[in-house]
């Protein structure tokens, strides 16, 4: 009977009326600021001619390709890509991004997404468990709203927090990057290479895609923390376990990468950017495979959260 919008409003109120939430958002902006200061300090004066650089890169790549017998296909692809893009640059007079331009700053600030992951894990782990530790769960559940709806509103509110933080990150790195490094490179296009063709797209759009790809890991880890929160009803356990796995998970899969079954592990699939530029951990892996694997994990996490949240007794 209670509408979903109202339930989400409630969850938002409980997230944003706490000082801790705003401290986290402040830290995101502070991280961007610190990155900007360091980039500004270390900016080398790249006066070298980018044209000669590009030409030599093309030459190198061509030579590597000549005796590339037995080299992995992905490696050959990346060399071909490099040649094509550099040739396109020379033809159309598009210099590569300078390390002190606003866009390369945006690139380095995608690193802050992992900070947002941690903060969203903290929010997601607390959104259920806190109700138990505060004791408010007893008053929350005795309303004409099904537990399923309440759980859904909590999950959506958590994702909205992630989205909000990402927007803050995007805007603040654009503004801070521009203020420190200048806005002059703003209209530079991003070059993509696919099927032997080079095409230009907007940098702004490219970085939105970058953020989205970087957020895949965020989404999975947050859903994982959300599940732990529902299972253990303890936010510290959920936060600890989720953050621990977030940092060790990719290394673990790397160590195990000699085995083929490793491709079914969550962390082997969270970095989707390898399918766009780079090579996947296991050769047989494809973008489709990873998407399906992620979806299966996602559904399992949510199903377990739902099962334990709706079916268990609320005892002292």
């Amino acid at each position: 009977m209670s509408s979903m919008v109202h339930l989400i409003q409630n969850e938002n109120m409980k997230i944003y009326r706490r000082v801790g939430t705003w401290v986290m958002i402040g830290l995101v902006v502070a991280a961007v600021l610190v990155t900007a200061i360091f980039t500004n300090m270390n900016a080398s004066d790249e006066t070298s001619n980018w044209r000669t650089d590009a030409e030599s890169t093309i030459q190198q790549s061509e030579e590597t390709l000549k005796d590339s017998e037995g080299m992995p296909k992905a490696f050959k692809n990346s060399q071909e890509r490099s040649i094509a893009i550099n040739e396109y640059r020379l033809e159309n007079d598009i210099p590569p991004l300078a390390s002190d331009s606003i866009w390369s700053f945006m690139d380095s600030s995608t690193g802050v997404v992992s900070l947002i992951s941690i903060f969203t894990i903290i929010i997601g782990a607390g959104v259920i468990a806190s109700e138990y530790s505060w004791g408010t769960i007893k008053l929350l559940l005795i309303r004409p709203a099904s537990r399923t709806k309440i759980l859904a509103s909590k999950f959506i509110a958590t994702l909205l927090f992630a989205l909000f933080s990402l927007v803050i990150l995007y805007i603040s790195s654009f503004i801070i990057g521009g203020l420190f490094l200048g806005f002059d490179a703003v209209d530079q296009p991003y070059l993509t290479y696919s099927g032997g063709e080079v095409s230009e797209t907007s940098m702004a759009v490219h970085y939105i895609v970058e953020y989205a790809l970087a957020s895949v890991n965020l989404l999975m880890m947050v859903t994982f923390a959300f599940m732990l929160s529902s299972i253990f009803r303890s936010s510290s356990l959920a936060i600890g376990l989720a953050i621990f796995l977030m940092f060790t998970g990719s290394q673990l899969t790397f160590i195990l990468s000699q085995y083929d079954w490793v491709k079914y592990i969550l962390f082997a699939n969270t970095d989707l950017s390898v399918y766009f530029d780079g090579s996947p951990l296991i050769e047989s892996m494809t973008l489709g495979f990873s998407l399906v694997t992620l979806l299966v994990y996602f559904i399992v996490f949510l199903f377990l959260s739902w099962l334990l949240f709706t079916k268990r007794d609320v005892a002292a």
Partner: protein, 308 residues
């Protein structure tokens, strides 16, 4: 009673593991009455209340609220219930008002005016815009009561409602619950382990022990069904008095302390005992009869201090 009960509890049973926590509990609560749910700690009061509001699943049995089943028609049943389960825990980082808005959003048809009205009712208007963090336990109880009343429930369930209130607050709550029951025809279920509390507040009481309903009676019947009362006589000399009473009333129990003689005797016989004493030349300084309290009955029914 031809009035339809607001709450119907039938064979409510809860088994956790192999232990039967609640054993075939059945009772009804009618509109306009305050029902006291009485039992020693650990008897299963809170578990029963948790099952009544759907926080815990029932192993067997049925709870109907105004005809809707908590088990199969939860949303329609719970919308008629306002409750505080154990302590009224609120969101401490929100203001009292924000807490109420939070719960108001979860039900249809609670207007801003209604929130204000409820705030007035529980007497929090002066502090409602402060964070709950700074509230005293008594103020939290009031806020808890306010959130339970927002949607004009037909059934109000309060778990230990006077916990942490000062005597003035307790009296206020007591009067308030009575008014609510009488004027708005709300059924109120109050749990407590404090007998004096229940005695003053309730119309009927159910005594629960080790998960079983031991007895359900009207408070007045409860106290009055046994006519023997304890009567204390302040007399001098005591020895003569004892002798006289023993001679004339051989069946009654006599206790002596200093110049006080306490006799368990029917109310009707007090004048006769006095007459006998006076006749024997015993000087009587005072006569005091104490009505058997609910506490005595309670201890009798539950068999003393046995907890779980």
């Amino acid at each position: 009673m031809s009035v339809k009960p607001v709450v119907q509890i039938r064979d409510l049973t809860k088994v956790i593991g192999k232990k039967t926590i609640i054993d075939q509990l059945s009772f009804d609560v009618y509109p306009g009455e305050v029902f006291g749910f009485l039992g020693p700690n650990g008897a299963g009061k809170t578990t029963t209340i948790r099952m009544m509001v759907g926080l815990m699943r029932m192993t067997e049995g049925e709870v109907l609220i105004d005809g809707s089943s908590i088990k199969t028609d939860y949303e329609n049943a719970i919308v008629k219930v306002g409750a505080i389960v154990e302590n009224p825990e609120m969101y401490k980082f929100l203001t009292g008002y924000q807490n109420l808005v939070h719960y108001a959003r979860m039900v249809k048809g609670v207007s801003k005016e209604r929130i204000q009205e409820v705030v007035q009712l529980v007497g929090l208007q002066g502090r409602i815009n402060e964070k709950v963090k700074g509230y005293s336990l008594g103020m939290r109880q009031r806020l808890g009561l306010a959130q339970a009343l927002l949607h004009r429930p037909k059934l109000l369930i309060l778990d230990e409602p006077t916990n942490g209130l000062d005597p003035a607050g307790i009296r206020e709550i007591r009067q308030y619950l009575r008014t609510l029951a009488r004027e708005e025809n709300v059924a109120v279920v109050v749990s407590s382990h404090l007998l004096s509390e229940i005695e003053l507040m309730c119309d009927r009481i159910g005594i629960i022990q080790s998960g079983k309903m031991v007895d359900v009676q009207r408070v007045n019947d409860f106290v009055k069904n046994d006519h023997a009362v304890m009567v204390s006589f302040e007399v001098d000399p005591v020895e003569h008095a004892i002798h006289a009473v023993k001679a004339n009333f051989p069946d009654c129990e006599i206790e002596q302390a200093d110049r006080k003689l306490t006799i368990k005797i029917e109310h009707e016989l007090i004048p006769e005992v006095t007459a006998v004493l006076v006749e024997k030349g015993v000087r009587v300084y005072g006569i005091q009869s104490s009505v058997k309290t609910l506490e005595d009955v309670f201890l009798e029914v539950t068999g003393g201090e046995q907890v779980v």
